[in-house]
């Protein structure tokens, strides 16, 4: 479906991409210990005896983490495995106190699911693609080494040790950097809707291992490399591109891609080898004997299902259908749960203030949000989360437009003043005397003056230069300091020119 190709010296190459995403589970406590999980706490302040792997300590599953994984699985339409099991992945490293990571190799909690991506928001119907998800399993995160604290020693921070991760493994279904980017964005959006991961890639709570291989279009899969711990959507796309190009150049030079783990260097926009398959660890996976198999009952799964909010695809369909928004607007408003929440609050406030059903004011709210408000916030370097205006405050502003108190252009001024002063719309309109006038006498007088002062243009209009209509309207509005009701101005100008 994708026509993305790498142009090599010997012809075209197709790139094949699979992502393994590690998403930190939103939970107050770690996967197998009671420790807290806040980001940015003092080193080693969120470490229990279990996280530090003291002798005789035992893991006990935190069912809230399990529940979040199940909710995530249901959200991507995946099979929930009511019988799953934890395995130990054994290796030595200073950030891994137990000497093994508790993970789920053989029997993951979530099986096959899928995620639909949209590659072009302007043409959603023709640019959709379904990416398969092979599995989701839960596992422990490792701690963190700090190399900048001492000239010859490394320090270990175990705050992250034992924090629950979901590893979400895609099928090798993506064929371009754009698809990889769209998949990761969509996955992050779903996780945020579900509330199972905050999706903050810059804080490391979501990171991707990017598997890339190249092949002649339609051939068998080539040998893949895995680039570890890529921490932004942009970098994932960059990794795909640079790694695919590297592989093509390598093959065309007569070389062979070796299965290996690589690291991405964003400063140089290239990947480099970390370790090859030959020196890969033998992880000696085996079932963790400290834990019984994880058995979920129907009630647990049903509760998880019932607790899910409306998810982005369903919400988008509703915005297009019931609310009558354009596909583009529906796409943009539902892409991030925070935007959708803000929009829905705005919609409710707007409808209430005007005493109208939401369907009737949805377009007004959507247009204003997308074209006016985002721009205004952007100028201030703010976003919805840091907006000084609440959805309720914005709803009142839109109601003033809706009921004819102010015009759309005055509304822009009012918005600026709201952002400046923090005052509400009605107060500003009152104080600044911005109320729209529908006083036909005053408007008629203004129109008459304009006609008189521009007799030449009246002549030209009557001679057929109809484009001048806008000029008279504009002049009238100007004379009325923007406060005249535009519809009445239109009517009266038309009448005067007739």
């Amino acid at each position: 479906m994708s026509d993305y190709r790498i142009q090599g010296a010997t012809g075209e190459w197709e790139v094949v991409i699979g992502l393994e995403v590690h998403a930190q589970v939103t939970s107050n406590a770690k996967l197998f210990s009671g420790s807290a999980t806040a980001f940015g706490a003092e080193p080693n302040s969120q470490v229990s005896l279990i996280d530090a792997a003291m002798p005789g300590m035992l893991p006990v599953p935190n069912m809230e983490c399990i529940r979040q994984a199940v909710r995530t699985g249901i959200a991507i339409g995946a099979q929930i495995n009511k019988w799953s099991r934890f395995d130990r992945k054994n290796y030595f490293y200073a950030d891994l106190p137990q000497g093994y990571q508790i993970s789920q190799l053989y029997h993951p909690i979530v099986g096959e699911g899928e995620i639909e991506i949209t590659l072009d928001e302007k043409n959603p119907e023709t640019s959709k693609k379904v990416i398969g998800v092979e599995r989701i399993h839960v596992e422990q995160d490792a701690g963190k080494l700090m190399h900048d604290q001492h000239p010859t020693m490394s320090y270990v921070d175990l705050n992250r040790s034992g924090v629950a991760l979901m590893e979400i493994v895609s099928r090798p279904d993506m064929r371009s950097p754009a698809e990889a980017g769209a998949y990761l964005s969509k996955l992050r959006s779903i996780l945020r809707y579900v509330g199972s991961c905050d999706g903050n890639m810059d804080q490391g709570s979501m990171r991707a291992d990017v598997n890339v291989s190249v092949r002649r279009p339609g051939d068998e899969f080539g040998t893949r490399t895995e680039t570890k711990n890529v921490n932004s959507v942009r970098f994932v796309m960059a990794v795909v591109e640079s790694e695919a190009k590297r592989q093509v150049a390598l093959i065309e030079d007569g070389g062979k891609v070796v299965q290996e783990t690589r690291l991405y260097d964003p400063d140089r926009n290239e990947t480099r080898s970390m370790r090859s398959k030959e020196d890969a660890h033998d992880y000696r996976y085996f079932p963790d004997p400290d834990l019984l198999p994880l058995v979920l009952d129907d009630a647990f799964v049903e509760e998880a299902r019932a607790s899910l909010p409306e998810l982005p695809d369903a919400k988008r369909a509703r915005y297009e259908g019931a609310l009558g928004l354009t596909a583009y607007a529906a796409g943009v408003l539902t892409a991030e749960v925070d935007t959708a929440r803000w929009f829905e609050a705005l919609l409710a406030a707007t409808a209430t203030a005007q005493n109208k059903p939401e369907g009737e004011v949805a377009k007004q709210a959507s247009n204003w949000l997308l074209s006016e408000f985002f721009g205004a916030l952007n100028k201030l370097g703010k976003d919805l989360a840091s907006s000084p205006i609440t959805p309720e405050g914005a709803g009142q502003l839109l109601a003033l437009v809706g009921n004819g108190t102010i015009s759309g252009s005055i509304a822009k001024q009012v918005l600026e003043k709201m952002l400046e002063t923090g005052d509400d719309a009605a107060t500003i309109v009152e104080r600044e005397g911005l109320k729209q006038t529908s006083d036909t006498g005053a408007i008629e007088a203004a129109v008459a003056t304009i006609m008189a002062n521009n007799a030449d243009k009246v002549e030209q209009y009557k001679a057929g230069k109809e484009a001048l209509f806008g000029f008279f309207v504009g002049q009238t509005m100007k004379a009325m300091a923007g406060k005249a009701n535009p519809q009445i101005v239109n009517e009266l100008v038309k009448k005067a020119l007739a």
């Binding site: 003291m54 000696r284 085996f286 400290d290 834990l291």
Partner: protein, 493 residues
């Protein structure tokens, strides 16, 4: 006045409760006995006379104040040095944990203190509970208080709970905790003429016990009598939310329901345990046991446990596999020994620390375990062993459809001399009768059955259904009542 150190656990409990003597007097007597025997027996790694006296003082004060007393009020005990004890060095008899003082108390030891017991000290053991003779301790071998007549050679107290068995047998503690992974309570109990029970897997919390093989490790009591074991097990057992494999079942009052009357009960005799070349004295002792249980009213039934012959091999794959992973945490990074040669990197620090910290037997098992879990060998060893383990458990399930308990020898011989077994395989073969119950997670106990021709104790093992510690204890009691075992080691230290 009675010689306090000759008393049983229940004798002390009743005497303290009845005011025949104070808990402080008892603790003092045992503290003195411990000190006197330490050099000769080396049963303890550390002694804690103050802790024993402090616990005793509290019991005496509680009694004086008329407060209710715990199940073990006034009983000082020895604690196998595999249980984490807050502020008291906990080593698993390994150099790698030398000087390690936990900030926490194991669930089982805490329950014992809550029941009114006091700590005499931390008992020696095979390093990380790996061994059957207590020779693998980094803190020196334990010498059994038993000797052959007119022979001063030092004998093994069994293992891995060898400090526990030696101390109880020498009457320097009235009771001790043990742990049993493949027989580490039962075999040392048999070697030293005492009783010990490994309860159903999950009865006692593993939280705070240094792990050897998680799916097999179980704590249990070692004491002079079946009743003592019942009382102490009641104090040790119980559900613990901190151990995901803990059994969420109420703890029965085993002591109250003790009865040596086995009328209506069936006892199985597994024919596969009649090994070719079975020691004649062990065979005779087994026959004695059969006769005693018949005398107690039980019907004796011949049963088959067809996969028994694979139990030892299965055990020596699963236990080292788990151990190789469980012991990975001893890496020199956070606690315990760190050997950091000049200029060493992380990998070199691991190698140096673990080479210096672990003993030979521990290293051997880590190597075996690492090997059987390795890619390419995993299915042939580990997966296969798990399948056989299931079959062994099924053998027992089938057998327990016909019988209530199973009677077998505890060990294939009486105690051997320290240094006598130099080939690790010979040592492993000594676990042949004890590992099947471990693999199946079943309650099993050893009770003294008599002395062999060398004057050394022999034990008989009773294996029960899951959760049926009562059935095991009752059959044990029936044997105890008929064996009339009253032999004690002659004090030579």
């Amino acid at each position: 006045m009675t010689n306090l150190t000759d008393l049983t656990l229940t004798g002390i409990r009743d005497g303290v409760a009845g005011g025949d003597f104070t808990a402080t007097e008892v603790a003092g007597a045992f503290n003195a006995a411990v000190a006197e025997a330490q050099e000769a027996l080396n049963a303890f790694i550390v002694t804690t006379p103050e802790a024993a006296l402090a616990a005793a003082a509290k019991v005496d004060a509680d009694r004086a104040a008329g407060k209710p007393l715990g199940k073990l009020a006034g009983v000082p005990i020895g604690m196998k040095d595999l249980f984490a004890t807050k502020g008291v060095q906990t080593t698993a008899a390994s150099k790698i944990l030398e000087g390690f003082k936990p900030e926490y108390e194991s669930t089982v030891s805490q329950k014992l203190w809550d029941a009114g017991a006091g700590l005499l000290g931390k008992l020696n053991l095979d390093q990380f509970a790996m061994g059957s003779s207590n020779e693998s301790s980094a803190y020196g071998k334990v010498t059994s208080p038993w000797r052959r007549p007119n022979d001063t050679s030092a004998l093994a107290p069994g293992g891995s709970s060898g400090g526990s068995s030696a101390a109880v047998a020498a009457r320097i503690v009235p009771a001790a905790t043990g742990t049993d992974t493949g027989g580490s309570i039962r075999q040392p109990a048999a070697f030293t003429g005492i009783s010990g029970i490994k309860p159903t897997y999950g009865r006692c919390s593993r939280w705070g016990i240094v792990a050897f093989a998680s799916s097999l490790d179980q704590a249990g009591p070692m004491a002079h009598t079946v009743q003592d074991c019942a009382v102490m097990l009641e104090a040790m057992a119980g559900f613990d939310a901190k151990d995901a494999t803990s059994l969420d079942l109420p703890v029965p009052n085993w002591e109250a329901a003790l009865s040596g009357d086995l009328k209506g009960k069936k006892v199985g005799i597994p024919r596969e345990y009649r090994l070719e070349g079975l020691n004649a004295e062990v065979a005779k002792s087994w026959d004695d046991g059969i006769a005693w249980l018949k005398d107690a009213g039980a019907e004796v039934v011949d049963i088959s446990l067809p996969h028994s012959k694979y139990a030892l091999a299965t055990y020596y794959i699963i236990a080292p596999a788990e151990a190789s992973s469980n012991l990975a945490r001893y890496d020199g990074v956070r606690y315990g020994l760190r050997d950091l040669p000049d200029g060493a990197n992380l990998q070199e620090m691991y190698a140096a620390t673990r080479a210096a910290g672990f003993g030979d037997e521990v290293k051997r098992r880590i190597l075996i375990g690492t090997y059987v879990l390795s890619a390419g060998f995993y299915d042939a060893y580990y997966t296969q062993a798990q399948k056989v383990r299931t079959l062994i458990a099924r053998d027992f399930e089938e057998a327990f459809k016909q019988v209530d308990v199973i009677l077998a020898p505890t060990a294939p011989t009486s105690a051997f001399a320290l240094g006598e077994k130099t080939n690790p395989l010979d040592m492993y073969l000594g676990d042949v009768f004890s590992v099947p119950a471990s693999l199946a997670g079943l309650p099993a106990m050893s009770v003294p059955a008599g002395l062999d021709s060398q004057g050394l104790p022999l034990g008989l093992q009773i294996i029960g259904r899951p959760f049926d510690e009562q059935g095991v204890l009752n059959a044990g009691l029936a044997i105890e009542q008929r064996a009339g075992f009253s032999a004690k080691p002659t004090k030579w230290w």
